[in-house]
Amino acid sequence: MADVQIMNGNQLIVEAALLAGCRFYAGYPITPSSEIPELLARRMPEVGGIFMQLEDEIASIIAAAAASYAGYKSMTASSGPGISLKQEGIGMACMMELPLVIVDVMRGGPSTGLPTRASQSDYMQARWGTHGDHMIIAVAPGTLLECYTQTIRAFNMAERYRTPVIILSDATLAHLSSGVTLPPPDTLEIVDRRQPTVEPENYRPYEISATNPVPPLPNRENFPRYRFHMTGLNKDATGFPTENATTVLADENRMINKIMDATADIESFEHYQLEDAQVAVIAYGSNANAARVAIKEARAQGLKVGMFRPITVWPFPFQQVMELGRKFKHIIVSEMNLGQMIHEVQRALQGRSELHCVLQAAGTPIRPQQILQKIREVSA
């Protein structure tokens, strides 16, 4: 029998994280993410995991990264202002190549903004919030079920590529409760970090093989046996700092390419009624649901329109959008901000399509009618 649960987005992220093997959480209270720590405070002790509420957002990201260093699957959660505070720590996890999941339940901004309202204004923050050259993986679930499945995927990608992965949820998904049919756990793939095969005295935390640019990292069980050094400084294969230009450049490139060369696995998206469409909408996250309603209505009115919905939003699905540019004369981008992903879309389209937008950063969700209106304008 299908496992039907009535849950909201935050609850689903928690249960998925636990199923994925997350056994360490550190966080600081912030709306609209607070149900995540509240639930984990109860659930973690039940599964033999660790829950910590720390003194601030910075302590939380550092603790989560350090738990990953110590072999644990680890997570923190926050919202826009807290994610801003965590950015230096996210960069540290990128540099140290620590698997880590960061949930960003987006709200409006800048600054304190609209704490209880939905937004997608952290799209660029997720990619470029920390300083320095780096690559990040970010997923934007669009449905409650995806809050569950994409959280599991986020952990899997974090472990497989030894990298932080950001989940861009928002206040709408976080607080939307509905019946969700969860996939049976045994049908879900759970990935664990690759373990060193060498003896502890020969282990080097950034030594790669000819076939895999992601070095192994001791898990919770192996950590005590493997002594190694990690630093936020640019490092060589041993984990110690280096200023050798050739080594630094090779390492910086490897850290980016370990993700960019694996987009076949990392990329995920939905094509919705694009087959016969003449106009394409590009939308992600909870806002894609408004686009879906608008498309259904437009089709009822005889307008042939479809949607491209990135689920993995970073790395940006450049190739996919470039192909949309070859096929569609009109493309509408809709997002709950004043224009962030649209810049990436524009770059990928290279002027091939006419670009339109439905943008809003008012704390209120974009209504299907707003998108429908734009579809009608464009189709006329």
Partner: protein, 275 residues
């Protein structure tokens, strides 16, 4: 019995990055001496540091080592202790790192009473970045960002730690490395948070600006301004003026240690396999 120091060091990383005559090496040596007396296994020790001269200490010791961001050693150490409660977790970092940018983590770790040892290598200055004044720079002394003499008040690390709830608080100095080692050992053994204010020297950035540029002279200066607790009682308030008291100030064995408290409330419904 003499300590086999190379056993605890990553000897291929020597010589030390620190200036010849720096006090940090004395503090690190005292720490290794204390660990040697405890017969701890290297696999059981984690050293975490932030950013700065002292923080580079983590690179030289053959333990599990994590060189984090500026000010962030303490939350990293906290997490590692929670993940592996049987391991010994040490923070080794400077006064600017732990008391300015990391000051919030410092006081909360004291309050939380988690079983980590925080060694504040306190040389009253930002050495690595060029001699800017820190939260422990003595008022009146010169720094690159206080060329006229420091007008900012300084923290008393002992009072700060005790006020924040630390259950073991001591102060030693590089002028008396044997006592420093003993305080470190007692701090390492203490079950709960331990804070050791390790007065160290930076002749390059603090000494030179304050007419104490010779390393030996600077150690002598520390010897002159420190008084052990056992002798302080005999001195008049006038004689104690401007002195820093060394010794073990506080040990509370009653307050519950945080990781133990957590693991006691954590009663897994069914023991989950290690993932």
């Amino acid at each position: 019995m003499s300590v086999d120091y190379p056993r605890y060091l990553r000897n291929d990383k020597l010589p030390l990055y620190w200036c010849p005559g720096c006090g940090n090496g004395i503090v690190l040596k005292a720490l290794i001496g204390a660990i040697d007396e405890l017969h701890w296994e290297k696999n059981d020790i984690v050293m975490v540091s932030g950013i700065g001269c002292a923080a580079r200490g983590s690179g030289y010791v053959d333990f599990h080592t994590l060189h984090t961001l500026h000010g962030r050693a303490v939350p990293a150490a906290t997490a590692i202790k929670m993940c592996h409660p049987s391991m010994h977790v040490i923070v080794f970092s400077g006064d600017g790192d732990m008391l300015a940018i990391g000051g919030n983590h410092f006081i909360h770790a004291c309050r939380r009473n988690i079983d980590i040892t925080m060694v504040v290598v306190n040389n009253w200055i930002y050495g690595m970045t060029g001699g800017q004044y820190s939260p422990t720079t003595p008022p009146g002394s010169k720094a690159s960002t206080m060329p006229q003499g420091n007008i900012d008040s300084n923290f008393d690390v002992v009072e700060l730690a005790r006020g924040a709830g630390a259950t073991f608080v001591a102060r030693g100095s590089v002028a008396d490395p044997i006592s420093l080692k003993n305080y470190l050992r007692k701090g390492l053994e203490h079950k709960g948070i331990s804070v050791i204010d390790a007065l160290s020297t930076c002749h390059t950035q603090w000494g030179g600006r304050n007419q104490l540029g010779d390393p030996v002279q600077l150690v002598e200066h520390i010897r002159n301004i420190t008084v052990n607790r056992s002798n302080a009682g005999a001195l008049s308030p006038e004689e104690l003026q401007g002195k820093m008291i060394t010794g073990i100030f506080h040990q509370d064995l009653e307050k519950k240690e945080y990781a133990q408290a957590y693991y006691e409330l954590s009663r897994p419904v069914e023991q989950t396999a290690v993932v």
